[in-house]
């Protein structure tokens, strides 16, 4: 009796507190206002397009800024700040539209691109994405301090004409024009902000569909339609509100369930929950590929081809995807070049199918015996498998540990490390096997293929195959799509025949989205998801 009275009082107290708020609460979608509310997983670490490296920063920048070209519907390249262009083996020329404006009303000019690109490659800037400029003449030499930044192969012929000279032919250059690092930055504004550039919303200029109008660090961001954007007629949303920042997938899912946000990604746990609630599950292939890298340094058993063959022959990517990853949207990997990448005319993998490998435990054991002989071992030392600290990573590592023990009698030691420690161990080669992944920077096989060139800094296992290096050079120095794709096809075979890496899966993601929200584009490259052409329906 007494307790129930107490509860009544408490609940009344709660209601009283909450009442004035009911109308102020953000709702997921608002048709009248054309407003969408979403949650971010993290605060964007850097909105300075010259230095940004991460997905969340590129997501915001992709909405607030625009390069010479842009991704439109069906992820086709469309005109951005440039209204027309010409490309050949030697370089490219862009004619900028005169109605492209910064958010303070001043025009976007060719000089803004020249300034931004020179700043990216300037070694003093130390931009981690400087490598993406390397197709432009002298970019690599400038970054390495051998030439001065004003020798970069980019020139403003006048305010609205930009001329680019290539270091070597570049078949995918137009795609790069939509990449965040190539966005324009206005010199006078950048210099006026100094150390504060991009630190807060006042320290930024926008030339894209939206502008950042509200930014409380770690708490909230808000994008509003940019009235100075040249193509504002194509932008339907007035507002993209992001009042929640949390890395917790369950918390974001709960917000979706409560009708507070319009879309959220799912992990294994929230997927089950979403299925129980009968939500429509949407799938999307996010373009990245996951694999195990081997260590090729002296004295590692993984440097032996027969040893690697044995590991390859017992591993079935189908089983990993179906039973261990167990989230729809992921596809077993059969090649280093994922299915979505463009080839000569069609998709690369349609034009050049990858070799099939089937599980063969008997043959695997034979290879293992040869490896033992060649290495002069009586018994294999335990393999060190370096992995990240996420639950998914652990699950996959345990699966491999069990697989190799059961079929080959090999012991695997799982070395679980947090992010930076794992990177440190990877770069010094403190592993036999390491779980790794790679997300693309542009739509060309090169973004994946050159990972295993002997000179690539990301080649953590130090894979070194002169044949492979030669093919990379061929693909780099030609503009003929046929010659290039033929070379990539041979590399695709080498990766499998030489077991350069152990292919696992092409990553996909699943998400839920409000039925009233239409036209959200999911992208493998660039700002993903893109709300630029999205709208709220009744």
């Amino acid at each position: 009796m007494k307790i129930s009275k107490f509860l009544k009082i408490v609940s009344c107290f709660f209601c009283l507190l909450a009442l004035p708020n009911i109308n102020l609460m953000a709702q997921a979608v608002d048709f009248e206002k054309q407003k969408v509310t979403i949650a971010l997983a993290d605060e964007p670490p850097s909105l300075n397009s010259i230095k940004s490296t991460d997905q969340i920063s590129f997501f915001i920048l992709g909405h607030t800024n625009e390069g010479l070209l842009n991704y439109g519907k069906r992820n086709k390249l469309v005109a951005g700040v440039a209204e027309k262009w010409e490309v050949n083996d030697k370089g490219a020329k862009f004619w900028l539209r005169k109605n492209a404006k910064w958010s303070d009303g001043k025009p976007v000019t060719a000089h803004d691109f020249v300034f931004a690109w020179r700043t990216v490659v300037n070694p003093a800037t130390a931009s981690e994405y400087a490598f993406i400029m390397y197709p432009v003449k002298n970019a690599e030499a400038i970054t390495n301090g051998k030439k001065s930044p004003d020798t970069l192969g980019v020139k403003a012929i006048d305010d609205y004409t930009l001329e680019v000279t290539f270091e070597r032919p570049c078949g995918y250059f137009l795609g790069l024009m939509a990449f965040g690092t190539y966005y324009p930055v206005r010199e006078d504004f950048y210099k006026a902000q100094g150390e504060r550039y991009a630190a807060d919303k006042e320290n930024l200029l926008f030339n894209g569909a939206f502008k950042l109008t509200h930014w409380v660090h770690g708490a909230a961001l808000k994008l509003e339609k940019n009235e100075h954007y040249w193509n504002k007629e194509a932008v339907h949303l007035n507002e993209v509100d992001m009042p929640y920042i949390t890395a917790d997938a369950l918390a974001r899912f709960n917000l979706f369930k409560d009708g507070k946000i319009a879309s959220t990604g799912l992990d294994g746990e929230t997927l089950k929950n979403a299925l129980q609630n009968k939500y429509k599950i949407r799938k999307f292939s996010d373009g990245a590929i996951f694999y195990q890298e081997f260590n090729y340094r002296e004295g590692r058993v993984t440097a032996n081809i027969h040893f690697r063959k044995a590991l390859q022959l017992v591993f079935d990517p189908n089983e990993l995807v179906d039973k261990v990853v167990a989230v729809p949207g992921n596809i077993p990997a059969r090649s280093l070049i994922p299915l979505w990448v463009k080839g000569v005319e069609d998709k690369f993998r349609k034009e050049y199918p990858a070799k099939e490998i089937s599980v063969d435990i008997k043959k695997a054991k034979e290879h293992l015996a040869i490896a033992k002989k060649e290495l002069g071992l009586t018994e294999f030392p335990p393999l060190v498998l370096l992995v990240g600290d996420s639950p998914t990573a652990s699950k996959q590592a345990e699966y491999l540990q069990n697989l190799y023990k059961k079929n080959l009698g090999l012991d695997v030691k799982i070395d679980k490390q947090i992010f930076k420690q794992r990177l440190a161990k990877m770069s010094v080669g403190d592993f036999d096997l390491v779980s790794a992944g790679w997300g693309p920077d542009f739509n060309d096989p090169m973004t994946f293929a050159d990972l295993f060139a002997s000179w690539n800094e990301n080649n953590n296992g130090r894979y070194n195959n002169p044949e492979y290096d030669k093919l990379i050079r061929i693909a780099q120095n030609s503009a003929d799509p046929k010659i290039r794709m033929d070379a990539f096809s041979k590399m695709q075979d080498i990766i499998i025949d030489d077991v350069a890496i152990l292919l696992q899966y092409e990553a996909g993601s699943v998400y839920v989205q409000s039925r009233k929200l239409k036209g959200v584009a999911r992208r493998v490259i660039g700002a993903d998801p893109s709300y630029i052409n999205a709208r709220v329906v009744e």
Binding site: L17, N21, S46, T53, P123, G218, T246, A247, D248, L250
Partner: protein
Amino acid sequence: MLLYSFKRLLYGLVTIWFIATATFIAMHSVPGDPLLNNKAVSETIRKNLEKRYGLDKPLSQQYVIYIGNMLKGDFGVSFTQQNRRVNDIIREHFPVSAVLGILAITFATLGGILWGAITALYRNKLPDIIIMFLVILGISVPSFVFAALGQLSIIQMNDLFNRSILPVAGWGDFTHMLMPALVLGLGTMAFLVRLMRSSMLEVINSDYVRTAKAKGLSPLKIFFSHQLRNAVLPVITILGPAIAAITTGGFVVEQIFAIPGLGRYFVQAVQQSDYTVIMGTTVFYGAFLVFMVILVDIVYGFVDPRIRIHAES
């Protein structure tokens, strides 16, 4: 009393210096550094980055520079968040954690004292058994479970009334704080209930309570001025460290309820090896804890005259 306070303060400063030094050494002996990233960079860029952040200097020199800047109250610039000063991070996000922490500790203390006293008064009877069972639950169940349950119950409640009674997550006004504070305070409350119970049991059997009863004082008067006042002392002792622990240990709760508190930066900095943020937040939290302990010592003197007299003599 003045000398006593001064001495405590001096010890406090030495403790903070020790925290700073130990953190500095530990941080640099872990493999990996803030400049490493998913995509490896060329040698030249790496060198330029090291130069910009002063990581090219020998460790001893870095230490001297760091301690020097710290004495000036400057914690430097974050490695992972472009152009953000660590001082700004603390200034913007600590108040959020503090507000949430104070609400949680208020809730924990009031609940702890109340339920603790009740369990003692009803020792080995039904209310005692029920409350003590809940206390064990509160201590052993981790806060992320309570947080998820709390969030679920808000969704159920909003669904039931078909309107937003309480927000599921986010930060802004008082309604955003209620559930996170409740969840955050739960563990501490459970701990305080146990503490209060045992200290109350001691008091109940003491001579002066028997005397008070014999004098014919009303049970209510005995409870408030004789039993509660004496039993509450141990609770106050641990309140200082508890406040520090709650305002700094809210990482999980902050993450789940999307609250922009300092806890998140504290934990993320370690994962990212963000040297300046690790140092800044650790030293700040360390100093905060030391300050709270000193404060409790002084408050203790006011509550319990015996301690004040002892310290003065």
